[in-house]
C-alpha cells in the first residue's frame, strides 16, 4: 500500500503515524519534493512525536488567545446564569403576586353586590391575566371549580361566572394558542377548549389529530371525544393500532371522556375494527353492561386472540347473569392461563354453586396466577369461605398457599381494621 501525505498541515501528523502502522511506503510532500519515510516503527514514532511537538508548540504560541477565549466564554456563562437567576427570582415574585390578585378578584366579583366595584374587579382581573398562559390556567381552574358545583350555586352567581367568562374571554385566548402556540401549547389549548365546551373549535382541533407530536394528537383526540365528535373519535381509535401504537389504556380513557353516547361510539368502532381494537373497546365498555353487544362478546370468545377472549369474558362476567355461566365454565378449559384467570374472576361475579365449584377447582390450576386469582375470588363469594376451609385443611399445598396469602392480604384489607368483630 502506498500513501502520500501533504505536510502543510500539522493535523495530518497523527494520520501519518497511523499510516505507518498499516502501509508499506509512506511519503511526505514537503517543499515540492516527495520525501520517503522510513518504515521502522520506533523511528516513525519519534518522527511523529517531533511533528506533534511542533504542532503543540505552534498552538502554544497562540496560547494566550486560547486562554483568553475560554476566559470570555466563562465570563459570559457566569453572567448568563446570574442574570437569569435574578430574572427568574423577580418573575417568581411577580407570578405569586398576580396569582393572588386573580384569586382575590374572582372571589371579590362573586361576593360583591354589583355596581362599580364589580366593574373595577373585572378590570383588575383582566389586567392581572395579561397574556400569560399560567394565569389563564389559574383562572380556568377557578371557573371549573364553580362550574362543577353549578347546581349548588344561586342564579345570580351562575350569571356572574358567565359574565367573567364573557368579559375575560379565556376561550379566545386558548383559540389563539391553538393556532399560534408550539405543539405542547396547542395540546394544552385542545384540553382547555374541550373543558369550556367550545364546539365551534372542533374543525381546528381536528387538524391536529394526525400530528407527529403524540401529545398533540392524543390531546386533540381526547378533546374531540370530550366534545362528543363521534366521527373523529371513532376514526382515531380505528387508526390508532396502525398509526400510533397507542396503549389500550388510552382508548379506555377516550371512552371514559366521551359524552353521553358511549354506546353509539362503541357500535361504530366495533363494526369496523380489528381484534386488538375490539378487545380494547370491549374492555372499555364492559362496565356499562350494554346488552346490545352480548352477541359480539359471545362471538369474540371464538377468536384466536387471547386478549379478545379475556375482554369478552370480563364483559360477560360483569352482567353477573347465570345465563352466561356455562359459556364461562367452558372458557375455564382454555389453554391460555390469562383466559382461565379471567373466567375464574367472571364466575366469581355470577356466584352460583356451580361457579363456586369451578373456582374452587381453579385453586389447583398449574398456573400460579390462576390459583392466586381463584383464591381471591373464592373469599369474596357466598359460601366461598367453606371452600376455603376445606382447601386449607386439604392436601393441595399450592392451593392452600395461594388461599392463605389471599386471606391474609386481600381479604384482611377488605375488612374494616377498626371493627373488632371482623
Amino acid at each position: 500500500m502506498l500513501l502520500i501525505f501533504l505536510d502543510y498541515s500539522y493535523s495530518l501528523s497523527a494520520m501519518t503515524f497511523l499510516a505507518t502502522c498499516v502501509s508499506d511506503s509512506v511519503y511526505l510532500f514537503r517543499n515540492k519534493e516527495l520525501i520517503s519515510i522510513s518504515l521502522d516503527w520506533i523511528d516513525n514514532c519519534s518522527l511523529v512525536v517531533k511533528m506533534l511537538s511542533v504542532f503543540v508548540s505552534n498552538i502554544l504560541k497562540i496560547g494566550n488567545i486560547l486562554l483568553v477565549i475560554p476566559g470570555f466564554i466563562i465570563l459570559f456563562q457566569f453572567i448568563w446564569i446570574f442574570v437569569r437567576a435574578i430574572r427568574q427570582k423577580n418573575m417568581q415574585k411577580k407570578n405569586i403576586y398576580s396569582e393572588k390578585i386573580i384569586r382575590e378578584a374572582m372571589s371579590s366579583i362573586l361576593e360583591s353586590d354589583g355596581g362599580t366595584a364589580r366593574k373595577t374587579d373585572l378590570k383588575r382581573l383582566k389586567d392581572a391575566l395579561g397574556s400569560k398562559q399560567v394565569f389563564y390556567d389559574i383562572l380556568s381552574s377557578e371557573i371549573f371549580d364553580y362550574v362543577e358545583r353549578f347546581d349548588e350555586l344561586s342564579n345570580s352567581k351562575k350569571n356572574l361566572v358567565s359574565q367573567i367568562i364573557e368579559f375575560v374571554n379565556p376561550i379566545a385566548f386558548y383559540k389563539r394558542k391553538l393556532h399560534a402556540g408550539d405543539a405542547y401549547e396547542k395540546a394544552h389549548a385542545c384540553k382547555m377548549l374541550a373543558s369550556y365546551g367550545a364546539e365551534s373549535e372542533i374543525k381546528s382541533i381536528e387538524k391536529h389529530l394526525k400530528s407527529k407530536n403524540k401529545y398533540l394528537s392524543y390531546s386533540a383526540a381526547m378533546a374531540l371525544s370530550k366534545l362528543g365528535d363521534k366521527n373523529n373519535a371513532s376514526q382515531f381509535i380505528l387508526d390508532s393500532h396502525d398509526n400510533f401504537r397507542v396503549s389500550h389504556r388510552f382508548i379506555i380513557q377516550l371512552f371514559d371522556n366521551y359524552g353521553d353516547d358511549v354506546k353509539g361510539l362503541a357500535a361504530v368502532v366495533l363494526g369496523e375494527c380489528d381484534d386488538y381494537i375490539k378487545a380494547t373497546v370491549i374492555k372499555a365498555i364492559a362496565k356499562y353492561n350494554f346488552r346490545e353487544f352480548e352477541d359480539i362478546y359471545t362471538e369474540s370468545l371464538k377468536s384466536e386472540n387471547p386478549t379478545l377472549r379475556v375482554a369478552a369474558i370480563t364483559a360477560l362476567g360483569n352482567f353477573a347473569d347465570a345465563e352466561h355461566e356455562q359459556i364461562l365454565i367452558n372458557a375455564f378449559s382454555d389453554k391460555e392461563w390469562i383466559v382461565r384467570s379471567a373466567a375464574v374472576k367472571a364466575l366469581g361475579l355470577i356466584d352460583t354453586p356451580d361457579s363456586l365449584a369451578v373456582v374452587s377447582r381453579a385453586t389447583s390450576d398449574p398456573e400460579w396466577w390462576v390459583r392466586y386469582n381463584a383464591a381471591r375470588t373464592l373469599v369474596s363469594m357466598t359460601n366461598g369461605l367453606y371452600e376455603v376451609e376445606s382447601i386449607l385443611s386439604g392436601y393441595d399445598d399450592y392451593a392452600a398457599d395461594a388461599t392463605k396469602y389471599t386471606l391474609y392480604r386481600d381479604y384482611a384489607a377488605a375488612i374494616d381494621p377498626t371493627d373488632s368483630n371482623s
Binding site: 486562554l67 466563562i74 405542547y184 395540546a187 394544552h188
Partner: protein, 450 residues
C-alpha cells in the same frame, strides 16, 4: 531514554486528543440539549392533560424499596412512597437481612403482622424469611429475606409485585409526588415503551455552596455528568453507564431477562443493556425513553472515604458490565448498542480515565526532564481547567433553563468557585479511583459475589 520520552509525549498527546474529542462532544451535547429543552418548554402542561390519576386510568405500579440497615430513614421513605400522586400502586419494602432495627421500626410504625406468603419466584432469589402486612395499609407489604445484595433484594420485590410496571427506589431517594406519574405517561402514550428513565442526581444543585465542601464537589461533578449524559443518550440512543436508577420498567421484560444481575455493582445499567439486547434479538419494536425533567435526588455522601469507595465500586461495576457485553461490540445484529453505546462507553469509561491517569504521571516527568517547557505545560493545564469549567457552567446553564426558578443569584458565585475547585484535586482523585476500579474490577466482583 528516547523511547520513554516518546511514550510519555504520545500518552499525553493521546489524552489531549481524547480530551478534546470528549470536550467537543460535551459542548455539542449541551447546545443540542439546550435546543431540545427550549422546544419542549411547554411539555409539562401537555402531560397534565392526560388525566389518569384515577384508578382506572393509571397503569398499576409496584414501588420496590430495597433496604439494608436503614432503620433511621426507612419509615420516611415509606411515607414518601405512600403519599405519591398516583391512582393505583403498591409499595413493597424488601429488607435484605438488616442487622439493625429496620424491620422493627417498620413493624411498629405501620402495625404490620406476619402473614403466610405465597410469592411466585419468577427470578431466583435468596430465601424469604417473612412477609408482613396490615389491613390498615393495604398498599404496603414488607418482606424480609436472607442477605443477598441490592440486586437480589430488588429481584425479591419484583417477584412479589402484582402489577405490570415497577420502579426501584432507594430509602434515601427524594422525588416529586408526581414523578412516577410522569414516568408512566410514556407507557400510556406508546405501548412499545419498555423502560422510562428518570434522572438520578446528588441533592439539588441549587444547594451548592450552602452545604459542605465535599457535598458541593459531588454536586458539581454530578451536574456536569447529567448535563453531558442526558443529551448524548437522547441524541444517539447511547445508553450511558448511569442510566437505570429511578426508572420505571415493564416487569414482564425484566422477568424475561432474569431480573437484576446479582454479582455486579452497576445493576441498572446492566439490566438496561440486557433488555436492549433481548429486544434486538427478538426483533421487537421497543423504546427506552429518557425523561430529562424527572428527577430523583440522593443525598451526598458525608466522608471522602465513602465517596472513593462508591466511585471505586461503581467504576468496577461499569467495567464488569462492559466486559460482559464486549463480544457484542460491532455485531451488526445489535445496531446502535454494538456500534455506538458499547464502543463509546469503553472509550469514555475505560480508556479515557486510564490515559488521564497516566498523563498525570507523564506530565511531571516531561517537565522534570525538560522535554516539555514548564510554560507550555502550564498553558496546557490552564486550557484543561478552562474547558472543564466551561462544560460545568454549560451544564448549569442547561439546568437553569430546564428547571425553572432553581438557581438563586446568591448561589452563582459558589457555582463558579466550585466549578474551578472541582477540576483541581477532586477530579484527579476521582480519576485515580476510577482507574483502580478498572484494574481491580475482577477481584471486586469476586468479593461482591461472596
Amino acid at each position: 531514554m528516547e523511547l520513554i520520552r516518546s511514550a510519555a509525549l504520545a500518552v499525553t498527546y493521546l489524552f489531549l486528543l481524547l480530551f478534546a474529542f470528549f470536550s467537543f462532544m460535551h459542548i455539542i451535547s449541551i447546545i443540542k440539549e439546550y435546543l431540545i429543552v427550549k422546544r419542549n418548554d411547554n411539555k409539562g402542561i401537555a402531560i397534565n392533560y392526560i388525566e389518569r390519576t384515577e384508578i382506572e386510568g393509571a397503569i398499576p405500579v409496584s414501588i420496590v424499596i430495597p433496604t439494608y440497615n436503614n432503620a433511621e430513614v426507612i419509615c420516611d421513605a415509606i411515607d414518601r412512597a405512600l403519599s405519591i400522586e398516583y391512582g393505583n400502586f403498591e409499595v413493597i419494602v424488601v429488607d435484605d437481612g438488616s442487622d439493625d432495627d429496620t424491620i422493627k421500626s417498620i413493624l411498629d410504625k405501620y402495625e404490620l403482622e406476619r402473614i403466610e406468603s405465597a410469592i411466585r419466584c419468577t427470578i431466583p432469589i435468596k430465601k424469604i424469611l417473612g412477609v408482613y402486612f396490615s389491613p390498615k395499609y393495604p398498599s404496603l407489604l414488607l418482606m424480609s429475606k436472607e442477605h443477598g445484595g441490592i440486586a437480589d433484594t430488588i429481584n425479591c420485590g419484583i417477584n412479589a409485585s402484582r402489577f405490570p410496571l415497577f420502579i426501584a427506589i432507594g430509602p434515601n431517594d427524594i422525588y416529586e409526588k408526581n414523578a412516577i406519574y410522569r414516568l408512566s405517561t410514556e407507557f400510556f402514550i406508546d405501548s412499545s415503551t419498555v423502560v422510562s428513565c428518570g434522572v438520578n442526581r446528588i441533592n439539588k444543585p441549587e444547594k451548592i455552596g450552602r452545604t459542605g465542601y465535599l457535598e458541593s464537589m459531588q454536586m458539581t461533578e454530578c451536574i456536569r455528568r447529567i448535563g453531558y449524559n442526558i443529551p448524548v443518550r437522547n441524541s444517539y440512543d447511547s445508553l450511558f453507564s448511569d442510566t437505570g436508577p429511578f426508572s420505571l420498567f415493564n416487569k414482564q421484560i425484566v422477568c424475561d431477562v432474569n431480573g437484576y444481575r446479582v454479582d455486579t455493582e452497576n445493576i441498572h445499567y446492566d439490566l438496561i443493556l440486557r433488555i436492549n439486547k433481548k429486544m434486538l434479538e427478538l426483533q421487537r419494536d421497543y423504546r427506552i425513553v429518557k425523561n430529562s425533567d424527572v428527577f430523583c435526588e440522593t443525598p451526598p455522601l458525608q466522608s471522602i472515604k465513602n465517596v472513593v469507595k462508591k466511585v471505586f465500586r461503581w467504576q468496577g461495576g461499569t467495567v464488569d458490565v462492559l466486559v460482559a457485553f464486549i463480544k457484542n461490540t460491532f455485531n451488526i445484529k445489535y445496531k446502535t448498542l454494538a456500534f455506538i453505546t458499547l464502543p463509546y462507553n469503553l472509550l469514555y469509561n475505560v480508556m479515557f480515565p486510564i490515559l488521564e491517569c497516566i498523563s498525570y504521571i507523564a506530565l511531571p516527568v516531561l517537565i522534570a526532564k525538560n522535554w516539555l517547557k514548564p510554560t507550555s505545560a502550564l498553558c496546557l493545564c490552564a486550557i484543561y481547567i478552562a474547558v472543564n469549567i466551561i462544560i460545568t457552567l454549560g451544564a448549569y446553564m442547561l439546568h437553569q433553563i430546564s428547571n425553572k426558578n432553581r438557581i438563586k443569584p446568591s448561589s452563582c458565585f459558589s457555582i463558579l468557585l466550585f466549578s474551578f475547585l472541582e477540576t483541581l484535586g477532586y477530579r484527579q482523585l476521582m480519576t485515580i479511583t476510577r482507574v483502580f476500579g478498572i484494574l481491580y474490577h475482577r477481584s471486586y466482583r469476586k468479593a461482591y459475589t461472596n
